[in-house]
Amino acid sequence: MSDQSTPTLRDYLPLLFQGVPVTLELTFASIIVVIIAGFTFGLGRSSKSRFIRWPAGFAVEVLRGSSAIAQLFWAFYVLPFLGIDLSPFVAGIAVLGLNGGAYFSEVVRAAFASVPKGQTEAAVALNLSSWFRLRRIILPQALPLMVPPFGNALIDMLKFTALLSLVTIQELAYRADAIRSVLADAGPVYGLTLLIYFAISLALSAIVQRLEVVVNRWAGRTGHVQDASASPERRSSGVPRWAFGR
């Protein structure tokens, strides 16, 4: 039971924890933007047409090359003057997602580029349609490579949501700071906030590990590794063993 005159952290715990769903919502909404923007920019930058390649490259460079906080302030304070009035939520998700997408686009591009050209050529020689080529030949070989970096992007998004406290969104960090201002001691509330972020990030890592299994199974890579090392014959294939290890 706390004294009326000196509030303790315990009084504010519900307030703090109400920030968790907000933070999660922001994280998941921005990671969806990351995926969409990452594939759009990534495939755009590998396009044969320079009218697609150049704008995509320009967007990626601008997003990567300027401060996310400056972009956030710009989306929040400047766009309304230009007649674009985004809610703090939408502006925040857009800025975080596009930023993450700009980085993730390099992952997408590299993963697609890592599929040997011979795979496409064999598919063309077999007269497989370009849709089949993408869906059943290229994507199953590219997507598994994207999952671990995707895990990084997801945890990055979680951490970057704290930036949105600067534009009045009452997520976890915003609430921690507000609570700290009425408490005598900053240590416990900030300490607890760190622990909450850490717990969420552990949970996200677990989800990504599960996702890795699911994607590998979809891509037909399960059993691949164990079986391969069990077979004495594969030594004579021209492909090095590490190429198939994960």
Binding site: P116, L126, N127, S231, R234, S236, S237
Partner: protein, 269 residues
């Protein structure tokens, strides 16, 4: 269709399965294939020899429609690869026309290019299901027949990574055969193999050459193999045909000094 031959050079035989007329391929300023005229008849087995970098692989890639020639036209089984014919004139066409023409052709690559995430059987059945629209059971039957024929009856469920190079190449041959092309292209199919695995792949091709009516174009450095199965041999260098004719002549008593020199270098290896 009878064709006007305005250039007045060698007329393309009407019965040609593959026709190339005045085909040139440039990569930047490098001319890899230089005004090539070539006709391959149905059932004909054509071997192409020549030093590396001579452009012989490019001929196969052009015939498969993997490269678009810088100039000239290519016709396969009555379909132009990159053109359509309107009022007797050839008009440039795109990927859709190329797909139509590619149906008659299959290709086996130096690096096998099997799909690593599919089993040997799936590598063969998937194109049957998605290109020829066969039922899964029909595709399975045709694929297992062919894999058995190339000696892989016990390896249906192996992934490419679990197969030796020779086995992978035999799966690749079965995969192409399954679509029943009229012309098969073999691009140095034993060059990436360990020496002791070369024989098993050559035997499969030799067997096909002797028992099927498919036309074949074979780029190879295996001279005795070429002599054994080819109806005609073509010696290629610097993007041009140096010498062509009966294998007993081109490979045993070559007339061109360039061919003599090349064969000498290969046989003295």
């Amino acid at each position: 269709m009878p064709r006007e031959d305005r250039s007045g050079s060698v007329a393309m035989p009407e019965d040609a399965l593959l026709g190339m007329r005045d085909v040139t391929m440039r990569f930047g300023s490098r001319v890899v294939v230089d005004s090539l005229d070539l006709a391959v008849k149905p059932r004909e087995k054509l071997a192409i020899i020549g030093p590396s970098g001579s452009g012989k692989t490019t001929i196969l890639r052009l015939a498969m429609g993997l490269e678009r020639p810088s100039a000239g036209w290519i016709r396969i089984d009555g379909q132009y690869l990159w053109h359509t014919e309107r009022n007797g004139a050839l008009i440039a066409a795109g990927e859709r026309q190329a797909r139509r023409a590619r149906r008659a052709v299959g290709m086996v690559f130096q690096q096998f290019n099997l799909f690593p995430h599919m089993t040997a059987l799936q590598n063969v059945t998937e194109p049957l299901i998605h290109v020829l629209a066969l039922k899964r059971s029909e595709a399975h039957d045709r694929a297992s027949d062919l894999l058995t024929r190339v000696g892989l009856a016990t390896h249906f469920d192996h992934r490419p990574a679990q197969l030796s190079g020779g086995q992978q190449q035999r799966v690749a041959i079965a995969r192409s055969l399954a679509l029943r092309p009229k012309l098969m292209l073999f691009d140095e199919v034993t060059s990436a193999l360990d020496p002791e695995l070369v024989g098993e792949v050559l035997n499969v091709i030799r067997d096909l050459a002797h028992t099927t009516s498919m036309a074949m174009m074979i780029v190879t450095h295996e001279i005795s193999f070429a002599a054994d199965i080819a109806d005609r041999v073509l010696m290629f260098d610097h993007g041009r045909i140096v010498e062509e004719g009966d294998p007993q002549v081109v490979l045993r008593q070559p007339q061109s000094p360039r061919t003599q020199q090349f064969l000498k270098a290969i046989l003295e290896r």
